[in-house]
Structure formats: structure tokens, C-alpha cells
Symmetry: C2
Amino acid sequence: MRTVDPVRHAARRRHILEGAAVAFAERGFDNTTVKDLCSAAGVGSGTLFHYFADKRAVFHALLDLDRDTTVADLRAIAHDDPAQRLWAVVDRLTEDLSDPAAGAFMLAILGQLTTDPRVGEILGEIDRVAEEILRDTMEDLLTNGGATGWDAADAATWIRSIVDGLYLRCADDGFDPAAEQARLRLVLTRMLGLDPACG
Amino acid sequence: MRTVDPVRHAARRRHILEGAAVAFAERGFDNTTVKDLCSAAGVGSGTLFHYFADKRAVFHALLDLDRDTTVADLRAIAHDDPAQRLWAVVDRLTEDLSDPAAGAFMLAILGQLTTDPRVGEILGEIDRVAEEILRDTMEDLLTNGGATGWDAADAATWIRSIVDGLYLRCADDGFDPAAEQARLRLVLTRMLGLDPACG
DNA sequence: GTCTATACTGGGATAGAC
DNA sequence: GTCTATCCCAGTATAGAC
């Protein structure tokens, strides 16, 4: 009795997704044709439609993958010191800044946000988890970590917002991820009043 | 000899653009059909193609309009006091936050950024002017306005970046423009070290 | 399971009447 | 100048060979 090889199946699916990520980043969702996805992965359209119901399903699968890893990574962060926890979360959220394709892919996602409710849901899940952790961390920092002048939830939202603004720039010419990450720390430190000398 | 009425012509063109702005904000660029643009303006497709070469030209005309007014407004700002100048620029850049369609339209624009080089050029012009004024202002603030720890050009870029991050959120449920503008002032004041008590 | 060839749909742009 | 009817093409998804 012949059975499918699940490992091979998963690997092929993954291969299609890898090519699709590049294609969507280069051309956005609507300007990427199914043909583009096929040639990026080196498969025929019949194969692609065997693994995914339609073009949008490929896009959603990429978002799901990103959400799963991001949420898992964020939940795995467990420092007792709130400041350390804050920087760990921020580091994870800015991890992809050095990948030039990440910014382009984000633009593709944002372009679908108005049209495709599923996109909003997936992004919302990531945001919810990130804000939850940031809010808890901010509560610690506000009670006994030196931070001042903020409501914990508002601060969480703003940290996210500033990081998002950074991703909009990461495809720009001459964008220097390391330097910008350092500036981000300066911005957050000052904004939250964390620096003892400036508290 | 019958001549065209330029006033009427301009008014009609403007009318088409007004409808188009709503349609693009609601559905994004690619999911808006020419039919949508026509019915939003109450004209036939023949009329629309009389005023604009193609669908993309309508989109570009909207961007041009936005750039023209924004650049003119920014250049008109002329306070001697650098801090006042900073807040005037920031107020102008955040002016549209209270318009829920503005955020949605921005998403439509960002979705085209990868594909359409003209979009990048127009946005680039706005950014260049904004950063130029912000950089000059920051130089004043850094030499004798109390700001510390920044390169003027980097600070200008970051102010813009943070404002852009804010626009990404302005379509969210429960977004309160006035409250967020107040928080933006807090963020910038602290980030730049403007507050004498915290300098 | 995978590929190639193709049918079908929908939207952008045009031609021509008024 | 404006509208309606229509052409044409691109792109998705499928059918059927291998």
C-alpha cells in the first residue's frame, strides 16, 4: 500500500512558500501572477494548486508562518528583570530589519490590509501578543523600574508603532540596521524615562 | 468659435479625483475598478478617460495634489523660534490623522510603492522637503535649543519615521487623534531631550 | 503526483453614436 | 464632451495526459 511521504510533502510546500515570499516582496500581491509563483518554485501550476487552493492561500500561509514563529518567540521570552525583558522583545520585533526583503514584504501585506480581512486578523494576533507582553513589562517598569509619565497600555502601543515606522524605512537606500537599532534604544530609553540620569 | 471652459474642466477633473480618493481608500489601488471610479464620480468611462490617460494616472494625480499642498504648507512655516517651528511642522504632518480615510489611502499608496516607481518619487519629494526643514530646525535646537545626543539629519529622519508609524494606526478602532498627537509631543520632547527638567 | 495546454472570467481601454 | 457597447487581453483555475 503506497502512502504519501509527509516529509517530502512538507518540504515541497515549504519550497513553494520560500519562492513565493521573494516574488510577493518584489512585486506585491496583485502584480504577482500564479505563473510567477510557479517559476519561482520551479513547479507547474497544477502542482501549486495541489498544495494551495488559490493564490491568496499561498499569501495567507506565509502570514500564518510568520505569526506562528513570532508569537512563539515572544512567548518564550522570560527575563525577571523588566528592562531586560523589554529589550528582548524589541530585539525580536526588529530582528528582520536587516533583511531587505522584509520591508518589501511588509508593504505587500499593508497593501492587502484594506481588502483582505484575514490579513487584518493575522496581524492583529501578532500585535495582541506583542502588546500583552509589552504592557506587562511596562507595568513593572512603571512601578519600580524608573519609567514615568505613561499608561502601560499606551506605552506598549507606542513602542509597537515606532517599530512599525522603522520597518517602513528599511528598504530605503543606505538604511543601516545596526545603527538604527541603536537609535531605537535611545529613543525608547528617553521616551519612557528609563535613563536614571534623565528619569 | 466655441472654446472649452477651463473652470468647468478643472472642476470636473477635481470631482473625479474626489470620488477616486474615497474609492482607492476603501478598496486599494488594484481592487478598485475603473467602473468604481466612474460611478463614484457619476461619469461614464469615456469621460474619465478623457480627463486621465489611464487608471494609474488618476492615482498619480491624487498623489501630486497631496504633494503640492503639503510641500507648500511646509515651506510656508516660518517661526524664528526653532521649538515653535518644530511643532508647526509636526502639526502639519499629523494634520490628516483625524481623517479616517487618510490612513486607508496611505495603505493603498504603500501597496503600490514596490511596483510603481513614480509613487516612490512623489513620496520621496515630500520626505525630502520635510526632512530638509526638520534638519535645519534640529540644527538650531541642538546648538542652542537644549536638544542633545542627536545628529540633526538622523533626528529629522526619526521624527518622520515616528509620524509614519502613527498613520499606520489611525484606521484602528478607538484611535483618538487628539490624544495621540499629545503623546507624540511627549515622545518627541523626551526623545530629543527638549524638556529642561529632563534635558 | 506532477506537468502542459486550455477554458473562462473579469476588467481596462476604445470606437463611435449622440 | 459625454455616454454605451464592445473588444481584447491577462490571469486564474481546471482538465486531462503522463
